[in-house]
Subunit: 321 residues, 2 copies
Amino acid sequence: MAVYTEVSDEELNAFIAQYDVGQLLSYKGIAEGVENSNYLVQTDTAYFILTLYEKRVNPDDLPFFLKLKEHLAGKGLSCPTPVASRDGELLGTLAGRPAALVTFLQGMSVKRPRPEHCEELGKAMAAMHLAGADYELTRKNALDLNGWRPLFEQSQDRCDTVHPGLGAEITAELDYLEKNWPKDLPSGVIHADLFTDNVFFLNDRLSGLIDFYFACNDALAYDIAICLNAWCFEQDLAFNVTKAKAMLKGYTSVRPLTAAEFDALPVLCRGAALRFLLTRLYDWLSVPEGALVTPKDPMEYLKKLRFHQTVDSANAYGLEG
Amino acid sequence: MAVYTEVSDEELNAFIAQYDVGQLLSYKGIAEGVENSNYLVQTDTAYFILTLYEKRVNPDDLPFFLKLKEHLAGKGLSCPTPVASRDGELLGTLAGRPAALVTFLQGMSVKRPRPEHCEELGKAMAAMHLAGADYELTRKNALDLNGWRPLFEQSQDRCDTVHPGLGAEITAELDYLEKNWPKDLPSGVIHADLFTDNVFFLNDRLSGLIDFYFACNDALAYDIAICLNAWCFEQDLAFNVTKAKAMLKGYTSVRPLTAAEFDALPVLCRGAALRFLLTRLYDWLSVPEGALVTPKDPMEYLKKLRFHQTVDSANAYGLEG
């Protein structure tokens, strides 16, 4: 949530001149996105978001992300659309970093989604899954089942300082998931990070999806599992089945689930909870003393994981199978 | 350069509803201003800047700042104009903090000002001094001559760790300034922080002044001295007399200097250099280990101070007396 790279007026004017977007009128560094520097740029034709990709993003992945947004927008999905330069390039260079200009999307994320927001999210996620079906590029999910144990090993020594017994609990869950992870589910491009921050609404209607920097190829239903974790628990971490039911109703109204997806949902939800538990645990243990940024509490996802461990069928999520 | 207070969509919608500005369409936290949280807010009528005042700002000072902007804008000066709520209030409350909505100003600061920018700045500063002449509220300059020694005492013990002999050099300068500081110069409302970040341009024409949170009553020529320090040194800290001459030409074309102001300019420049040396020194020594923010180098202002110590008349700044 910071601007890592400062851009001068001279550099930005030269960069903007490569695009057919009019004359630069203002720009502001915005506190959005965890890993990159973002500016809201105003020209005399429109507003844009300018992103400078910082070192945590692999430059080889950038064509996948940018062309995906172009592909999805071309299919009518509301998401930021990359603007091509006069030379037809989606990716340029600014202040020594890869940089891209995308259209500005109106709307705001909701901090406390209601069931109608969850239903809208379900519909948009399913529409994205359908729109991505013929996307030609692929990207492996670096944080899938195969990535979790190596990630855990980087925190294992110290994880019981966060919560007594946490290491054993994670180890048991990894054993379970490695034995029971579903194979051969319908797969395609997933967003993989559809938290409330990344979904915009206007007047309770979904106005767009943003931040595709975790997008990858994986089981489509795993995206649903991430959203059940991110959207359907209350502040006190009670599961709200009304919200889950609304999300699944929205999703299945656009793309019905297969029987295998229905059966897999509880284990996918366990996996999604573990994935965010592990990255938050890593961040929690990696943050320097005295840092300004407070990392997110990993315990939130341990509690969500424990809920999904009690679930024996997708009926618990309000789905009728 | 951060957003300290997060505002939810629900809180912001309720806040915006108190103003006659239309419906909220988007908002982004912006990395602007050192001490407050700022959002760029879009409604269906216009863009605004929303500021939440954090604890380093004294709430008792807020009416001075907000009514000053309203007063200056009313006299035709281009600066952010506070928007009154339907109840006629310039100051509201949001997320438990005092908060104000001001108009959005187009333009960009220039990182490397040229003489024509300096001339524009000089004109706008003089116009601001004239426009502020009948402003009814007053605010003492907390960082004037009387404030410098107490401020220095908080860094004195450790200041030679920054540069050997720095403590003795500052002490000698304080002694000099306390003996030679000019009295009875024309005074009024000054901006007191007109660094390049706080001055916007469009097509090399000045489009507005922002960030009035150091504004106070003091000698008008002290504002000029601050700008000579902030705008007229090159990256290598060589003084650029062409820029100084342009700034003073711009200023005096709108408001001529008195003989006393002309004579006082070198000592005012020494004082302004010391004031920023002292606050930067304090920040440099106060920053916690491992902090994300790098404080600005105090040595820059020691070098500027040493330049002004060699000046024996305002002719050195390109002024003809």
